[in-house]
């Protein structure tokens, strides 16, 4: 019945589909779409290649499904910013949520990074549509905070970029970070640094 089954997934279908997606995440996040092979994904998922293709129409279908699922979680934290909350607390909370995602879901972060670096061929529309609108809304909120003097004047979009950059850096460049820090846990220092930086930038 499957081939990208749409409704009434049986227990075994659900199990295999999520096993494939989990395996796809591991492989695609390390080698990118073109650098990954179905054999790799199949082996990581513990099943034969034809069986894998029984559940997903094609290599592309796995990758696309993965990206779609990822994008939800990716945009969600931004929506949680509350215009009526304390500005610094809201932005710091957002930064910490993003940092936690880098810590707990580094592969998702790297999958996303791979896709963007390669020119975002499959999610360019989402970036120019949904993401842009969402960022525009948050930008209005931040501008409002600045106008009312509750935070310093900042370019809201570049502020958001710098939060993205700094938090995702710890997932995407994990190897480099650990090469430099040695045995020290990256995320403790990262959180403190992020806090200091946002305070210094935002508080008048």
């Amino acid at each position: 019945m499957p081939k990208d089954a749409q409704k009434s997934d049986t227990r075994i279908q659900k199990k295999n589909q999520s096993a494939i997606l989990a395996a796809g995440l591991v492989v695609f996040s390390q080698f990118g779409f073109r650098g990954s092979t179905l054999d790799q994904v199949a082996e990581e998922a513990g099943m034969s290649k034809p069986n894998l293709l029984y559940y997903f129409r094609s290599k592309d279908a796995i990758y696309t499904a993965l990206l779609a699922k990822l994008l939800e979680n990716w945009l969600e934290p931004l929506r949680k910013i509350d215009p009526d909350g304390d500005p610094v607390a809201e932005l710091l909370g957002y930064a910490k949520r993003k940092l936690a995602m880098s810590q707990n879901f580094p592969r998702e972060s790297r999958l996303f990074a791979n896709e963007i670096i390669q020119g975002a061929p499959r999610i360019g529309d989402v970036l120019r549509g949904e993401l842009r609108e969402l960022v525009d809304e948050i930008a209005v909120i931040i501008d409002g905070w600045a106008v009312s003097g509750r935070i310093n004047a900042v370019d809201p979009r570049h502020l958001i970029f710098s939060i993205w950059a700094q938090t995702q850096h710890y997932a995407d460049f994990d190897v480099q970070v650990r090469a430099i820090l040695g045995d020290v846990d990256p995320f403790e220092g990262a959180e403190q640094h992020l806090e200091a930086m946002l305070h210094g930038l935002l508080t008048p």
Copy 2:
């Protein structure tokens, strides 16, 4: 004579070798090592695949040569930080130099990012060796500045990470940045933001 010619490169050899490296940069920086093909590189370089392999022993040799050349330029700006200069000016200068590299050599930045995301299989040693030592030296300098009260106390390594993250973000995530900013030039706002952030963080 070639196959990774070592000495006495003729005019035509130099021309072709640099054409190949330039083409390799374009292709590898977009698709990563495993996602790129020799045919792509050959076409981008405007020559046949066998001819390309007359100048470089293998696909790996092109990629490795590219990475080696890149690493020099990558580490250099860090070395220019002057312990006897004004702390904020030195760090801001470094950040601006890195930002200029993202603006002028985005492909180099993406090539590097690709390599790191994939676990740095060929430059892990450099990261844990040369890079780590260099960062350690700079960390001592920054710590010295903090101890003498010329800047606020910060974790030097995370400060460096945040400069790397923010500057490289504009090259590596170029598509996303432009999707959000539209027609606005990313680099003007980026420089201002970077300046404000470093001032807020460092000045007592």
